[in-house]
């Protein structure tokens, strides 16, 4: 589904990702872990199409297409979803209008008729129930005045609405209390299927108790230095990142 090969990315001349490789197949959940500042969020932003980064080298193919050639909205319509670490507040744009526009733009792209108002409202109720959001988030402006937890739940709600093939959740667990974390994780788990894939980017192992990954990768200094199964996350939790740093530096020194 997603093949990232030898990807190097920089911003303002500073290289962040250095020869990054990753393969994701349908049905898989990958966790990308690593200390702060190693390029985790950059990776997410580049996959989603943020234009402030320069791709210096390498390629990303997504379902057989060259992802780097696509505008962000095309990537989204083709099934890529980024759950933002810091969801943006947009005063004056209602959640309902935002989601309806997004859905209908996607449907138009796929050659489908737009949803009627009633169909849309029904879908919204369904998805709210699915991800267990019972507040009136949808009546408000996009993320405006939302608490940290509400913003993250709202990301999951949007994901449910848009039904992506590949979801990238960027530090979705940061700033969440345990209850909100469970809501978010349950949402993700309910949306899992053999058809779609998820990349969970996180600093802590905690989230992975609830979203169980098939693969765990450790990102350090712009590339993956260690990959393993879900037990790698536990190892990281007990040993910390220093161990990885030493190992990575050791490898570099040899």
């Amino acid at each position: 589904m997603l093949h990232i090969k030898d990807l190097s990315v920089s911003i303002n001349g500073k290289t962040i990702l250095k020869g990054f490789n990753l393969d994701v197949k349908p049905g898989e959940v990958h966790a990308i872990m690593g200390p702060n500042g190693t390029g985790k969020s950059t990776l997410a932003a580049v996959i989603a199409g943020r234009e402030m980064f320069d791709v210096d080298h390498g390629e990303i193919s997504y379902r057989g297409q060259d992802l780097l050639e696509m505008a962000p909205e095309i990537r989204a319509r083709e099934g890529i979803f980024l759950g933002f670490q810091y969801p943006v507040e947009i005063p004056g744009v209602s959640m309902a209008n935002f989601m309806r526009t997004a859905l209908n733009e996607k449907r138009k792209y796929l050659g489908l008729e737009p949803l009627s108002g009633a169909e849309f409202l029904k879908l919204m109720e369904e998805k709210k129930n699915l991800v267990e959001i019972h507040s009136k988030l949808t009546n408000r402006s996009v993320n405006e005045g939302f608490s940290g937890g509400e913003k993250k739940k709202n990301e999951i709600f949007q994901m449910a609405m848009l039904e992506p093939k590949l979801a990238i959740l960027d530090e979705t667990d940061s700033g969440l209390d345990i209850d909100a974390l469970k809501v978010v994780a349950n949402g993700v788990n309910k949306l899992r299927s053999s058809e779609n894939a998820t990349i969970v980017i996180t600093h802590y192992q905690r989230l992975l108790d609830y979203i169980v990954p098939d693969f765990v990768h450790v990102l350090f200094d712009g590339r993956i230095v260690k990959s393993g199964g879900k037990e790698l996350a536990l190892e990281l939790e007990s040993k910390g990142y220093e161990w990885i740093k030493k190992e990575a530096n050791g490898v570099a020194a040899n």
């Binding site: 962000p72 004056g92 733009e105």
Partner: protein, 469 residues
């Protein structure tokens, strides 16, 4: 009768026209009004038309406009005209008490002045000058400042017709009063409507003032509005400006607030070749509340200039200015907001904010706040922003599959919404919201309000040749 003497500069022409048409200009007015006229004329003669060397006209040059060979109408040729035949307003499903001015003159089917059961009077200023001379002498020209404004002086010299509203003590006028101001002339025309609104103690009213043009010809409209809010009165004043690219619209609004009175002013400029809105507020007694909002959406070579002056002359008053603009193409915006807090005006709260979105590199806005504070216990703030659409918000929307064009529109609507959503009358807020939305989608033209929809047959002209009526 249409008059035009095209060899003289506009100022000289106006001065000579004044004397030439003195009998019809004076009409049935009182000695007091005629004294106002003479003072106005003298002031205009002294000042001449504003020019770009004046501080508050620095960014708005009207010299090219003044070269136009304008026609003038010194008597009402509109009264027999059935306005419904050519025009329906876009705020039509609003239940309003609706009145129309065509080329500056009152259009009526039955009577020029209506007196409602509750004593409210709505109608032609020309008629009010005959029927209510005491009210006219007490209020007309008492808020306007011809000494500070040549255009106000000029309008005052030629006061003839416009909308007169009188709401007696304690009366609440439930329906909004809607004034539709239409310009339609086969030749370039110069108009000077004058509006007077008096809200007596505790009275309440909503005035919706729509400016339209049904012509692609050059027109210059020099309007003066005076609104008096007596103690405890509340006036909501909405102006919706949707004019052709060849129209120049100058509106000077003078708002006078007595104790515990409230005025909300909301000026929405959707289109207009050259638009200048001057709002001058005097908070004359304690606990006055002036809330002034503006929204301007301009593109191509449109020019919009908003000038606000608030005089906090008494303690414990509140004023707020929120003006927002979206400028596309080579459009030009000007905002100047001046707050004067006089020595005795302690406990003043005065806020000002002007926010602009520039959609191209060529669009331009000049924004200037001025605070002049002579009292020591006040809270004042001002802010101005000029920027582009928030790139983070753009990316957020696009990352959900919303195309760049649709994302821009959503963000522009959201930007405008801060002004629109604060319109207290639900129906009006929705109508204006729809017009703003249509405008931002590029679907609103000046022909939208016209029932003839002649756009495929060329520019709209209705052949109402004033000289032949």
């Amino acid at each position: 009768m249409t008059t035009s003497i095209n060899t003289l500069p506009l100022k000289e022409r106006l001065l000579s026209l004044f004397f030439e048409h003195l009998p019809s200009i004076k009409g049935q007015a009182t000695a007091g009004v005629n004294r106002l006229r003479e003072e106005g004329l003298a002031e205009f003669e002294r000042q001449g038309f504003p020019h770009s060397k004046l501080e508050n006209w620095r960014f708005s040059d009207i010299a090219p406009l003044l070269e136009t060979d304008f026609a003038f109408n010194f008597s009402n040729q509109s009264r027999a005209f059935d306005i419904d035949k050519i025009f329906t307003c876009d705020v039509y499903d609003l239940d309003t008490f609706s009145v129309t001015l065509l080329n500056g003159w009152f259009v009526y089917k039955h009577a020029p002045l209506t007196r409602l059961e509750n004593g409210t009077v709505i109608g032609s200023l020309a008629k009010a000058m005959e029927l209510y001379p005491e009210l006219i002498d007490k209020y007309l020209g008492k808020a306007a400042k011809p000494k500070n404004s040549a255009l106000t002086a000029l309008n005052t010299a030629f006061i003839q017709d416009g909308l007169f509203i009188y709401v007696p003590e304690g009366v609440v006028v439930e329906k909004p009063i809607q004034l539709i101001n239409i310009v339609d002339s086969p030749t370039p025309v110069f108009l000077q409507p004058r509006h007077l609104t008096i809200a007596e103690r505790g009275a309440k009213l909503t005035l919706v003032h729509c400016d339209h043009s049904l012509t692609h010809n050059i027109s210059m409209t020099n309007t003066v509005v005076e609104i008096f809010a007596e103690p405890g009165a509340e006036v909501d004043h909405y102006k919706i400006q949707n004019k052709g690219k060849n129209s120049a619209l100058f509106t000077s609004s003078y708002l006078h607030l007595e104790k515990e009175s409230k005025i909300h002013s909301n000026i929405i400029t959707l289109n207009g070749g050259f638009t200048r809105n001057n709002v001058d507020v005097r908070l004359n007694d304690e606990l006055g509340h002036a809330d002034l909002k503006g929204l301007y959406l301009v593109d191509h070579n449109q020019h919009v200039d908003n000038q606000v002056f608030i005089d906090h002359a008494a303690p414990n008053c509140f004023s707020n200015q929120l003006y927002k603009g979206i400028l596309d193409d080579q459009a030009r915006g000007v905002f100047s907001g001046r707050i004067l807090v006089e020595r005795d005006a302690q406990q003043t709260l005065a806020y000002q904010n002007n926010k602009n979105l520039l959609l191209t590199d060529e669009a331009k806005v000049n924004t200037q706040p001025h605070l002049e504070i002579y009292a020591d216990d006040v809270k004042c703030s001002h802010g101005a922003t000029v920027g582009q659409l928030d790139p983070d918000a753009m990316f957020y929307l696009r990352s959900r599959g919303i195309g760049e064009h649709a994302a821009r529109q959503l963000l522009m609507l959201a930007f405008a919404d801060e002004v629109v959503q604060k319109i207290s009358i639900e129906a009006l807020s929705q109508r204006i919201g729809n017009m703003v939305e249509k405008r931002l989608r590029g679907e609103l033209s000046i022909c939208d309000q016209c029932v003839l929809h002649c756009s495929d047959k060329g520019p709209a002209t209705f052949n109402i040749d004033m000289s032949k009526i």
